[in-house]
């Protein structure tokens, strides 16, 4: 009897595991449900390959930024500067490209993207540095950085859109030409998928991922166990900035110009994607897969609504309700 009382809760794991699995699948099931719903009630065009490709393209920017945001939110932090960082990325690319001569545009495009990534990662690193050194909460620091970076982007571009010569960067997220159909989706989407797999591996099998999770789960314990908490946070925000920069590259690909006023409010879409995908703003919960599914859910709704001729405001109300429902369901499961 003694043994029974103590060991029963450990062994009765299968029921728990089943529920856990269901809770992990919930965002995915939600995505399928919403897709099936639109496929059933929406017009024929919703199901077309072309529309699916459009959905994938629209998801790519939010999804890319969400890779970094997932890591940030996993540590219990938040990064409100992502939208501004994306705008800065497009501006930096355009500025570098404008100085290029036609002869080596290929290389200059790569250099421009590299410069944008470095600038954006630098912004993220600065956020992390301020958070750990000044001991100000991430919400406030990144709220400030949102304005600082947006202002910097506007200053760099003299508050104007910057035209840039056409390069392969513009093909990253362009709709596929007829002879490229074999790729199914544009290269930018493939890049997102590859990096998503990479980040999943980082979260599961790297020390950084493990330590980020530990910091978000119980920061004091992490410190007690010798996890370099501050260094982990700086890395995490730097990576958040880096993925913001990649989102900027994709954004530039769609715009073909550097625009300092683009992506206003994008950070909220990104955070929503992570949260719909099971991320907890208290830290410790969240997954790359979930965040991508969250981003997809939002673009499916957007696409479905517009295909059905519903106005923008309807989409916004529905997306808002989905966010609240997703988190409420999550709380309910955890009780």
């Amino acid at each position: 009897m003694v043994n029974d009382a103590a060991e029963r809760p450990i062994r009765s794991g299968s029921g728990l595991r089943w529920r856990e699995g269901l809770s992990r699948l919930a965002p995915f099931l939600g995505l399928i449900a919403i897709f099936v719903l639109f496929a059933a009630i929406g017009p024929e065009s919703f199901r077309s390959a072309r529309n699916l490709e459009t959905i994938a393209r629209q998801t790519a920017i939010v999804g890319m930024a969400a890779l970094g945001m997932t890591l940030v939110i996993l540590t219990g932090g938040i990064d409100l500067a992502v939208g501004s960082v994306v705008a800065l990325g497009t501006v930096v690319i355009a500025i570098v490209l404008r100085r290029a001569d036609a002869a080596n545009l290929h290389w200059m495009a790569a250099a421009a993207a590299g410069a944008a990534l470095a600038a954006c990662a630098g912004c993220g690193w600065l956020s992390g540095w301020l958070i750990t050194r000044l001991r100000v909460v991430p919400f406030i620091v990144t709220l400030g950085m949102m304005l600082v970076v947006r202002g910097a982007a506007k200053g760099l571009s003299h508050e104007q859109k910057i035209d840039a010569p056409e390069t392969w960067l513009n093909d990253l997220l362009a709709s596929l030409a007829a002879d490229q159909r074999w790729m199914l989706v544009p290269p930018g989407v493939w890049l997102l998928l590859v990096l998503a797999v990479g980040m999943t591996l980082v979260l599961s099998y790297s020390r950084l991922g493990r330590h980020a999770l530990a910091v978000g789960s119980n920061e004091q314990t992490a410190r007690l166990c010798g996890v370099p908490v501050n260094r982990v946070k700086m890395w995490v925000y730097a990576m958040g900035g880096f993925f913001g920069g990649l989102a900027g590259v994709l954004q530039f690909s769609r715009l073909t110009v550097g625009d300092p006023t683009v992506a206003v409010g994008l950070e909220l879409d990104v955070i929503a994607a992570v949260v719909i995908g099971g991320g907890s703003l208290a830290g410790g919960e969240g997954s790359i897969k979930g965040s991508l599914v969250g981003a997809l859910i939002m673009s499916v709704i957007r696409s479905g609504c517009s295909q059905m001729g519903l106005s923008n405001w309807v989409q916004e109300i529905i997306t808002g309700m989905i966010i609240i429902t997703a988190v409420a369901l999550d709380r309910f499961r955890h009780r």
Binding site: Y205, T221, C225
Partner: protein, 502 residues
Amino acid sequence: MGKRFGATVALEGVDLEVGRGEVLALVGENGAGKSTLMKVLSGAHPPDAGSIWLDGAPYAPANPLEARRAGVAMIYQELSLAPHLSVEDNILLGMEPHRAGWIRSAEVRARAREALQRLGHEEIPPERRVDRLPVAAQQLVEIARALAVGCRVLVLDEPTSSLAQADVDRLFALIRQLKSQGLAIVYISHFLDEVKRVADRIAVLRDGRKVADEPAGRMDIAAMVARMVGREVRDWYPRSARPVGDVILTITDLAGIEKPAAASLELRRGEVVGLAGLLGAGRTELLRCVFGLDAVRRGQVRVGMAGGLGSPMRRWAQGVGMLSEDRKQEGLALSMSIADNITLTRLEGLGGGGWIWPRRQASAAREWIRRLDIRCRDTGQKVAALSGGNQQKVALARLLHHDVDILLLDEPTRGIDVAAKAMVYRLIDQLAAGDPSQGRKARAVLMVSSYLPELLGVCDRIAVMCRGRLGPARRREDVDEHALILEATRLEAGEDTNRHGE
């Protein structure tokens, strides 16, 4: 291996030694200095004087991480695990074997298994998330983590307070096994029967001093209690004639979600009833259940003629007031003024139609400031700027301003100076006695305190709470400190299934 401590404010010249393969138990009443000692050991507080030696080398950790690296691991009452991580990840947190930043999962698994095996608890699945394990298993994971970093001294602080009896037995078996592996173990507990069972040597702390340090075989429970108590009882508890009136509060078989497990009590006008017991016995939770702050699972609370359970709002309306033990977080709105805090629950009469006249509010507050001798600049001063004693008076003034009939006081003298304490004792006496000449009715007071002399001095009847169960309320004349400590630290078998099963 030896340890020597010097003086801090809460500790005075305590010398302690613990050897390999030895279990040293530390006992003492609340506030005797045990927790300060723990903080010094874990590196959270530096000692003001004296030194600690570990294996012949000086040991002066600047923070808990250094203490851990030096081989001193603490297992606190509140477990410190990362709930979202798996068992194996928790055990190896901060020292994961890796190649170029990538964790070698197989080795993590193997080392976690090894640590769990050393505990003799291979049944804990290393891949399971920690928050999906029962508390007893979580505690084992924490001990496994301590072993995995190679700890030499294991400090256990009240490790059994949240365990069921079967788990306590298993923990003791484990402690004996670790002892035989050469670890030095410091065991801190309020439960004297447990101490007796597990310790090789027992040290008693009282008021920051070591008053006894003897082999366990030479000290029985009565001797421990005698050493823990032995202080002079100062006679500063006023006691007017307090005629007992009608029953005003009846608690019948009340049970909360976790605590209390079962509590029944009657409270009459003109009566002060004390709740004694250990920290975590469920006394605060009992008050909170009565006041409607915590959910009630079973049982009834009857205020005067009104039955049914209540919300804090309903209780205030019924004339029940509560003084929280956590003055700063819960009891007071620190950033608001004295006047705002005093009048918070009863704004009626301070203006009409939902408006508050500052002048009326200030004059109401001024009355209480005068009567309770609250030291402050003016009624608009923020409560945060006051001393602990004066803050407590403000919190009490709120109950008086509301003119409550029943006062639920949770540790009313915690952290306040001697003069303020005397004032609180006087006030409790006056409230319970009432004053017919001025038309003031006698009130009823239900008070929690961890300081036994205070309870014996102030109360008419005292009930002891032990592991969620409330004993009978006995007249003050019929109990003494010995009896109360024994009742509070009793380790009862057979009642644990109840707690564990929830």
